[in-house]
C-alpha cells in the first residue's frame, strides 16, 4: 500500500484503437487517484472514454484492435500494465471486481447461479465445494435475495433484472475485493429498483470498506453516490473535483452545460438549457479544444490551441483556456 492512502493511481493512461476510420484515441492521457474507501464517479457521454478507462485498468481491452499505448496503472504499489497475464488474472475478480450494465450478458445462462458464485471463491480463495456453497448463499443473503438457499440453484433467466444485478454484486463482492468497478450498474433498471441497488452498493461499501469506481451518465446518481467526480469528454478528463465542489462550483463549460441540461424535478418548468451540436468523432479530432464547436464561450484560442489542465483549488482541475473565469462565475475563488 502506498503511503499516501491511494489504492489506485492512474498516470497518463492512453488507450488507442486501430480502426478502418483511423486511429481512435479513446482514452488519451488521463490521470487520477482513488483513495481507499472512497467512491469515484466517472461521468461522460457515449464515446467519451469512460468505459475504456476502466477496461484498461483491469486489462480487458480487446487486442487488436485496441492497445494500451502508454501510462501506468498503479494498484497498491504495483503497475498492473506491467504484470504478466496470469498475474493480472489473479487480481481480476479477486482484488478488483466489476459489475456491468447488463447482468444478463455477464451471467452464463446455462449455469446455475450457485455454480457461478462458487466458481469465484473456488478459484480465488481455494474454497472446497461445500465452503464455496455456504459462502455463495451467504453472499446472496447479503445482497437481499429472498430465500437465498432455495433460489441459489435457479438459472439467471429465472431472476428479474434487479435480482440479476444483485447476483452480479454478490459475485463481485464474494472475494472481498479492494476495488469495485461498477459500469452503469443501474442504467438498465427501473428507478425504484435503481434506488434499491444504489442503496445496496452504499451499504456494502460502508460495511466492507471497498473502494468504488462508478461509471455513469446520470448526474443524479453521481451526486448521491460519490466523493470525487471525473468528467470525461473525447477521451480526456475535462474536469475533476470533489463531488460537492463540482456540483456547486463547476469550472468547465462542458460540466456547466451538462448540469444545466438535466431537468431538475424540484425546479420550475422552462426551456431546458441545451448543449448544441454532437459529441465529436474521436477519430477525427481537430486541433484545439475538442469541445470548442459546442461551447457557448468559445474564443479563437480555443480553436487553435489545446487547452491547459488548470488547477483551480486543492482537488479541483479543469481542462479549459478560461477555467479560472468559468470557476469565478460559478462562485469559486481560485486558490
Amino acid at each position: 500500500m502506498s503511503s499516501d492512502g491511494n489504492l489506485l493511481e492512474v498516470k497518463n493512461l492512453r488507450t488507442y484503437f486501430e480502426t478502418d476510420d483511423g486511429l481512435v484515441k479513446a482514452v488519451d492521457g488521463i490521470s487520477f487517484q482513488l483513495k481507499r474507501g472512497e467512491t469515484l464517479g466517472i461521468v461522460g457521454e457515449s464515446g467519451s472514454g469512460k468505459s475504456v478507462t476502466n477496461l484498461s485498468i483491469i486489462r480487458l481491452i480487446p487486442e487488436p484492435p485496441g492497445k494500451i499505448a502508454g501510462g501506468e496503472v498503479i494498484f497498491n504499489g504495483t503497475d498492473l500494465l506491467l504484470l504478466p497475464n496470469d498475474a493480472i488474472r489473479k487480481i481480476r475478480g479477486r482484488r478488483i471486481a466489476m459489475i456491468f450494465q447488463d447482468p444478463m450478458t455477464s451471467l452464463n445462462p446455462y449455469m446455475k447461479i450457485s455454480r457461478q458464485l462458487m466458481e469465484m471463491t473456488e478459484l480465488h480463495l481455494g474454497h472446497t465445494k461445500a465452503q464455496a456453497r455456504t459462502h455463495a448463499i451467504r453472499m446472496l443473503e447479503t445482497v437481499g435475495i429472498p430465500d437465498a438457499q432455495a433460489r441459489a440453484d435457479s438459472y439467471p433467466h429465472e431472476f428479474s433484472g434487479g435480482m440479476r444485478q444483485r447476483v452480479m454484486i454478490a459475485m463481485a463482492l464474494s472475494c472481498e475485493p479492494e476495488l469495485l468497478i461498477a459500469d452503469e450498474p443501474t442504467t438498465a433498471l427501473d428507478v425504484t429498483i435503481q434506488a434499491q441497488i444504489l442503496e445496496l452498493i452504499k451499504k456494502l461499501k460502508r460495511e466492507t470498506g471497498t473502494s468504488v469506481i462508478l461509471i455513469t451518465h446520470d448526474l443524479g446518481v453521481v451526486a448521491g453516490m460519490t466523493d470525487h467526480v471525473i468528467v470525461m469528454y473525447a477521451g480526456k478528463i475535462f474536469e475533476q473535483a470533489r463531488t460537492n465542489e463540482l456540483f456547486a462550483r463547476p469550472g468547465n463549460p462542458y460540466t456547466k452545460g451538462l448540469l444545466r441540461s438535466v431537468p431538475d424535478p424540484t425546479d420550475e418548468q422552462g426551456k431546458l438549457y441545451q448543449i448544441p451540436g454532437l459529441p465529436p468523432d474521436v477519430a477525427h479530432l481537430k486541433p484545439g479544444c475538442p469541445f470548442a464547436p459546442r461551447c457557448d464561450r468559445v474564443q479563437d484560442v480555443c480553436k487553435r490551441e489545446f487547452p491547459p489542465f488548470v488547477q483551480l483549488n486543492a482537488d479541483h482541475y479543469s481542462l479549459c483556456h478560461f477555467a479560472q473565469e468559468v470557476y469565478s462565475e460559478s462562485g469559486g475563488t481560485p486558490a
Binding site: 457521454e45 457515449s46 429472498p146 428479474s160 433484472g161 434487479g162 435480482m163 427501473d190 428507478v191 425504484t192 429498483i193 435503481q194 434506488a195 434499491q196 444504489l198 442503496e199 451518465h217 446520470d218 448526474l219 443524479g220 446518481v221 453521481v222 451526486a223 448521491g224 463531488t243 460537492n244 456540483f247 452545460g257 451538462l258 448540469l259 441540461s261 438535466v262 431537468p263 431538475d264 424535478p265 424540484t266 418548468q269 426551456k271 431546458l272 438549457y273 441545451q274 448543449i275 448544441p276 454532437l278 459529441p279 459546442r294
Partner: protein, 349 residues
C-alpha cells in the same frame, strides 16, 4: 380545453395459451395465462397538451400508446377521436385517420429502414397519402429536415451515417410529414446521451407550439416527464393509478406509488442527495400474468391494509382535476391516515 382523444375502458390482453384440453393432457394443472398489459384504462387527452405517461417497465405504458394508434389491437374499449371510435374502425377507415395520429419510437436505430435514404424515409408518408410527389415532395422533405434541425444536404444519406440524436430527428421529421394533430412519443429520449436529450425535448416542445400538436409522452424518466408535460398519468401493472397536472403530481402526490417513484429519482445535487430520505419499495414489479388481486400495488405498498388485497380501487377525483386510485384516500380524506401530506420525502419543499 376539450379532449382530442377520449379513451374509454381500453383493454389490451395477450393470450399466452395454456388451460386448453391439449395443455391439460400434458399438465393437469395447466391454466390459461393472459397478460393484461392494459386493463381498463380511461383517459382524456386534451387538445394541445402534453400528457406524460410514466411507469416502470412492464406497466403497459407503451402498449397503451400503441393501442391508441391500433399498432396493437385493443381487446376491448373505445378510443374516440373526432367522434369516431378508432378501436372499431375498419382498416380502410383507420388509414384515413392514422394520418393525423403519428408515433415516434424509442430506438432510433431500429425504427429507420437501413436501406432507405433519409429522403425516402421522410418522403414515404407523403407518397402513401398522396400529399406530394416529385419536386414538390423533395421540397417538402427538405423543409421537414430543416424544421427538425437537420441540414437538407442529408437527403441522400443513409441512417447509419447519423448519430442517435440525428436519427431521432429523422424519426420526428417522418412523423411530421403528414401534418398530424397527435403524436405518441414512446420513450423518445431514453436511448440518447444527456446533452442530446435536452436538444430533443426542446425540439419537441418547439414543434408542439408551432404546429399545435398534442403529445402523449411516454417515459420512465420522471425528470423528463416533469419537464415536458402539462399533465402526468402514472401507470402500474396495466392500470392508471394517478392523474394530475405536472406540478401537482410532483409537489403533492397522493398515491403511495407515485411518492415512491418520485422519491427514487436521483437529484443532481449532492446536498439534497445527502439529506433526503427515500421511500424504498420492496421487491420488483409483479408479473402482469395473473397480477395481484385487489389493488395491484398492495404487495409493495408500505400502507397496505387487508382490504387492499380484496378491493379493486377506482380512479376517483380526489381534488379538482387530481385523480387517484386508492381505497385509503377519498375526497374527504385525501391523505392516508397517519401519513403526512405533501411532497415525496426528501425533496425540498
Amino acid at each position: 380545453m376539450s379532449a382530442l382523444l377520449s379513451i374509454k375502458d381500453l383493454k389490451v390482453h395477450f393470450d399466452l395459451g395454456g388451460g386448453g384440453p391439449l395443455d391439460k393432457l400434458f399438465n393437469a394443472n395447466s391454466v390459461k395465462r393472459v397478460v393484461k398489459a392494459v386493463d381498463g384504462v380511461s383517459l382524456d387527452i386534451l387538445e394541445k397538451e402534453t400528457l406524460g405517461l410514466v411507469g416502470e417497465s412492464g406497466c403497459g405504458k407503451s402498449t397503451l400508446g400503441r393501442a391508441i394508434l391500433r399498432l396493437t389491437e385493443p381487446t376491448a374499449g373505445q378510443v374516440l377521436y373526432r367522434d369516431r371510435d378508432l378501436a372499431h374502425l375498419s382498416q380502410r377507415q383507420l388509414r384515413e385517420h392514422r394520418r393525423h395520429l403519428q408515433i415516434i419510437f424509442q430506438d432510433p436505430y431500429a425504427s429507420l429502414n437501413p436501406r432507405m435514404t433519409v429522403g425516402q424515409i421522410v418522403g414515404e408518408p407523403l407518397q402513401t397519402y398522396g400529399l406530394a410527389r416529385g419536386r414538390e415532395a423533395e421540397q417538402r422533405v427538405q423543409e421537414l429536415l430543416e424544421t427538425v434541425g437537420l441540414s437538407k444536404r442529408f437527403i441522400k444519406r443513409y441512417p447509419h451515417e447519423f448519430s442517435g440524436g440525428q436519427r431521432q430527428r429523422i424519426g420526428i421529421a417522418r412523423a411530421l410529414a403528414v401534418d398530424p394533430d397527435f403524436i405518441v412519443a414512446d420513450e423518445p429520449i431514453s436511448a440518447l446521451d444527456v446533452s442530446i436529450q435536452a436538444q430533443i425535448m426542446n425540439l419537441l416542445e418547439k414543434l408542439r407550439r408551432e404546429k399545435n400538436l398534442t403529445y402523449l409522452f411516454i417515459s420512465h424518466d420522471l425528470r423528463a416527464i416533469r419537464h415536458v408535460s402539462d399533465r402526468v398519468a402514472v401507470m402500474y401493472l396495466g392500470k392508471l393509478v394517478e392523474i394530475a397536472d405536472a406540478k401537482t403530481i410532483y409537489d403533492e402526490p397522493l398515491m403511495p406509488y407515485t411518492k415512491a417513484l418520485i422519491s427514487a429519482v436521483p437529484v443532481p445535487d449532492p446536498q439534497v442527495e445527502a439529506s433526503r430520505q427515500r421511500i424504498m419499495l420492496e421487491g420488483d414489479v409483479p408479473s402482469p400474468i395473473n397480477p395481484p388481486s385487489g389493488c395491484r400495488f398492495h404487495t409493495r405498498c408500505p400502507y397496505a391494509i387487508d382490504a387492499c388485497k380484496e378491493v379493486v380501487p377506482q380512479l376517483v377525483e380526489i381534488k379538482p382535476a387530481h385523480f387517484a386510485a386508492c381505497i385509503r384516500i377519498s375526497p374527504a380524506q385525501p391523505h392516508i391516515e397517519g401519513v403526512a401530506p405533501g411532497a415525496a420525502p426528501g425533496l425540498p419543499q
